[in-house]
């Protein structure tokens, strides 16, 4: 199965590389939202707001990014893939690819955000680790939700509606770790929370692999 996963990932990566529409699209979205924040807040925000705002921006960008991936598959190619690989492999490839994409987006978003809104973070390392792990966990949960939403009539509205309840617990943990890293907490202190993050991500991945086979043929 890992061979199939890698093959599918390579396919997605090369497709994306040739025509960077999804990535650049979401990047533009990030630029716009960060810019709006800059204009509204003029770079002066209390620390809690800084943190929450950043994650809200990232969340919305992720919703878009992950859903686009599923919608772009194209009607005729899908049955072809499904003759080549198991549904679990297809899902796994999607999740890993999305995690990679979201990691990139999160880092770009972070770069833009700190450039414009300042960087009050004391423990940069923990913040960035949380960022990457959080992006990965979000991608796992959102991939499954996108799989569901992309098969319905109005996927973009549905994505928000279905995604929020699923993602909120994850977001809570991520924001908690993020906030404490701003205050200068050490990795050792936040170890428990990071484990919880990994647990949520792991469960999302397992569930996605178990449940995707039931809906992939729609």
């Amino acid at each position: 199965m890992t061979a199939a996963v890698f093959a599918l990932m390579r396919k997605d990566l090369s497709l994306e590389w040739r025509n960077k529409s999804a990535f650049t699209g979401v990047l533009l979205y990030l630029v716009s939202t960060v810019f709006i924040c800059y204009l509204s807040f003029d770079g002066l925000v209390p620390v809690h707001t800084w943190n929450a705002l950043f994650w809200v921006i990232l969340l919305f960008a992720s919703l878009n990014a992950v859903l686009k991936g599923f919608l772009q598959e194209g009607e005729r190619r899908i049955p072809y893939y499904y003759t080549l690989a198991s549904p679990a492999a297809v899902m796994m490839a999607r999740i890993v690819y999305n995690a990679f994409l979201m990691g990139l987006l999160a880092l770009s978003g972070w770069g833009m955000y700190t450039a414009v809104m300042g960087n009050p973070v004391q423990n940069q390392g923990l913040f960035l680790l949380n960022l990457i792990l959080g992006a990965g966990a979000l991608s796992a949960a959102l991939s499954m939700v996108s799989a569901i939403a992309s098969r319905a009539r109005n996927p973009f509205t549905l994505m928000g509606v279905l995604g929020f309840p699923v993602v909120l617990p994850l977001l809570l943990v991520v924001i908690r770790i993020s906030a404490s890293s701003i205050q200068g907490a050490s990795l050792a202190a936040q170890w428990g929370n990071l484990l919880v993050l990994l647990l949520l991500a792991g469960i999302s991945v397992v569930l996605a692999n178990l449940l995707f086979p039931y809906i992939w043929r729609e």
């Binding site: 198991s86 086979p213 039931y214 043929r217």
Partner: protein, 75 residues
């Protein structure tokens, strides 16, 4: 406001009346449902001899307008 026995008694009475109303509503619903179920059952049986050739599936297994591969064996 002091809470006396009498006031509590009034509260109990009010809540009990509300509950009784809800209970009556539920029983009324049940009556309507029962009637509707009987009618549907009669209609169903009536329609069966008419529909020669068309499959009237037994209860709980209707697949009207189903696609050919609907068994969905998950590998």
């Amino acid at each position: 406001m002091e809470i006396t026995e009498d006031k509590m008694g009034v509260v109990v009475l009010v809540v009990a009346i509300i509950l009784a109303g809800l209970a009556l509503f539920l029983f009324y619903l049940e009556r309507r449902l029962h009637k509707a179920e009987r009618d549907i059952h009669a209609l169903g049986r009536e329609g069966r001899p008419q529909a020669a050739g068309s499959q009237n599936p037994p209860e709980g297994q209707a697949h009207s307008g189903s696609l050919p591969d609907e068994t969905h064996r998950i590998r």
